[in-house]
Subunit: 207 residues, 2 copies
């Protein structure tokens, strides 16, 4: 048992250090040697866990997504919070903001990574649609949302959001603000929420 | 002038024949030799126009998209037709139905073609959003649509449609029908059309 745990710890350490190096030096400019030096382990130890830098990147993304999905799930399940607040918070938990995560966006948007990008999108959608749909159903029970097609509506919203906001454009440019406002406005329409009710729930997150 | 025209005709002939072969034999099982045999031209003549089978495929897709965009534009510009009908017809003009076109879907959904798929999506979106938005604005003037964010709404609708319906799943499976109904319902909400008004305009197209 002890050995298994140590292997898992070592793996996470490799991911932590790689993530830090990728985000500071850039993915392309970080070598496996850099990672080995930083941690002070032998080549064999790293290759036991990961066959390449690309595999490390995949694992970092997996870990990130698992974390985001877990956070969204926790938010969704806390039924003491109004559905309006929960739906906004759960969706916002997927925004990539930390300094240590932004390089991931840069990588997945490279043309040669189109397939990886698509796979990430697909697996995210599969995990997230049921979570958000559950909140929308709660909101229908609360009487704050109203739609005959909750799941289809959520799929529509998330598929758009994962692409339209999946970039590193500044959040405060006028175009981006119009896009965000339009998105919130349309989300309210799709799930049948009162106009501006989601906007009001979103505001505190930008303070 | 004559030579230029002939070159253009030859190019289109290559595309026509390739398209027919790709859709009957399959893209992978069609060789450049098959295409040459079928048309009865020399290798050099084909390579003068296209460097590879992939380039032929790209050109077929380009031609298909150009045709679809042109059709949508014509529909959009015929202001004698009600906006409700025009918005439905223009969007439906992008469905790939002909026997000769379905192999394109099969090709762009292959994992190794993820980048090509994304490029097609992006260029389609860029061309189509303004066309459909124009119809929505007409509908707002007619008093049949109502939204503060026409362009954002159209972007949301099209981005979803181009992915959710971009497959060769049977149109009459219960899941697909629910998906289509949900999509029409949500589109009505997004552009602020009366409930079922788009559905009614869509019905004649399925007869």
């Amino acid at each position: 048992m002890r050995v298994v745990k140590e292997a898992e710890e070592r793996k996470n350490e490799i991911l932590d250090v790689s993530q830090r190096l990728f985000s500071t030096k850039g993915f392309d400019d970080t070598s496996i040697a850099d990672i080995l030096n930083e941690i002070g382990i032998a080549k064999g130890t790293l290759y036991y866990h990961f066959k390449s830098k690309e595999e490390i990147l995949d694992a970092i993304i997996d870990r990130m997504i698992t974390g985001q999905v877990l956070t969204a799930k926790k938010i969704a399940e806390d039924k003491s919070v109004p559905a309006v607040t929960r739906v906004v918070n759960a969706m916002m938990s997927f925004s990539v903001e930390g300094d240590n995560e932004e390089f991931v966006l840069e990588q997945i948007h490279k043309p040669q990574n189109a397939l990886m990008h698509q796979k990430i999108q697909d697996s995210l959608m599969k995990a997230v649609v049921p979570i958000i749909t559950e909140i929308v159903l709660d909101g229908i029970n609360e009487g704050v949302f109203k739609t005959d097609y909750p799941e289809e509506g959520v799929e529509l919203i998330l598929m758009y959001a994962s692409q339209a906001f999946n970039d590193d454009e500044a959040l405060n440019s006028p175009e981006k603000l119009k896009k965000i406002n339009g998105f919130v406005y349309n989300t309210e329409r799709i799930i049948g929420a009162e106009q501006d009710s989601l906007l009001k729930a979103l505001m505190p997150l930008f303070k």
